[in-house]
């Protein structure tokens, strides 16, 4: 069967299983609610991008420092960005603190710093990031 397109502006459910009260949602909410960019970056050794979406490049700016550049700019710099570093071994303890740099958010880039719980800059094998907000 060939793939096709279903176009609709409103999604409605009778919600008969739960409340029995019909509910509707504007499909633009669905689009606006999905992540606009995400990625997994290996900061150890030679930096590499393991998986991504809406990313054109990642800068290795130094220990624990990265700048992600988007392919489709965000509309403004008030978007939400969340990231975290994964511990590198099952027996590793402590925490990894990810911060956006003071001037780190622009519509085309997101600059950040990863550190240990003690504040020391740290390169992780798995840096995960996701960005939500409006696209340009």
């Amino acid at each position: 069967m060939a793939n096709g397109t279903i176009a609709f502006d409103t999604l409605t459910t009778s919600d008969s299983v739960n409340t029995g009260t019909e509910k509707s949602i504007d499909t633009s909410y669905l689009l606006n609610g999905v992540a606009k960019s995400h990625g997994v970056v290996n900061q150890s050794g030679t930096v590499a991008i393991t998986d991504s979406f809406n990313t054109s490049s990642v800068n290795d700016d130094g220990t624990g420092l990265n700048t992600v550049t988007f392919t489709n700019n965000m509309a403004n710099s008030t978007y939400t960005a969340i990231a975290g570093g994964q511990l590198s071994a099952t027996n590793e303890t402590g925490s990894r603190d990810w911060s956006i740099k003071a001037d780190g958010k622009a519509t085309s880039t997101l600059a950040s710093r990863l550190a240990t719980g003690a504040g020391t800059a740290y390169d992780t094998g798995v840096l995960n990031y996701t960005v939500d907000g409006d696209l340009a």
């Binding site: 050794g45 991008i49 054109s56 290795d60 130094g62 550049t69 392919t71 085309s108 696209l135």
Partner: protein, 162 residues
């Protein structure tokens, strides 16, 4: 293997094109890296730009990415003191997409898109090298003294002479 044909994307939202590419194109891990230094921050270590594999697949495929000048126009808008929000995002979506590039052309495009213009404009007039395209295996394989990495001026001088 037959190359999949890119739909006519001019006028299609760039983000939708990226969704199509993620679904239909295989990512291309480039061996190229761009090492550069910011003339406005000479005390900082060298930065290394890593091309994204999905972006590289779009560049090689053609018909997906907008011309780099579109990004410059948006950057100019954002640099204005009263900037709040992009009002010319349509440039990303409505401008005719660029044709397929070679990997080397894609790296040149990426330099002009993702690296500040002050780094690569008038590059030849700089009194020290501040941008090098190299292969991944030419970089140190460990992160030792990462914050002290600098472009080797002697190596570049030799290359220029050649």
């Amino acid at each position: 293997m037959t190359k999949i044909k890119t739909p006519k994307f001019q006028g299609t939202h760039l983000w939708d094109r990226l969704c199509w590419a993620k679904e239909n194109l295989e990512g291309k891990q480039s061996d190229y890296r761009i090492v550069w230094e910011d003339p406005d921050a000479p005390e900082e270590c060298s930065k290394i730009t890593v091309p994204d594999p999905n972006w590289m697949a779009c560049a090689l495929q053609g018909g997906i990415l907008p011309p780099v000048e579109v990004y410059w126009a948006l950057a100019e808008d954002e640099a204005k003191p009263d900037f709040k929000k992009h009002t010319r995002g349509y440039l990303l979506h409505n401008t005719k997409p660029v044709e397929a590039m070679t990997e080397e052309q894609a790296i040149e495009y990426l330099i002009m898109k993702d690296i500040p213009q002050r780094v690569w404009r008038e590059y030849q007039k700089a009194n020290k090298p501040r941008l090098v395209i190299c292969k991944k295996n030419q970089l140190p394989s460990t992160r030792e003294w990462r914050n002290a990495w600098k472009i080797d001026e002697n190596i570049i001088a030799t290359d220029k002479a050649a």
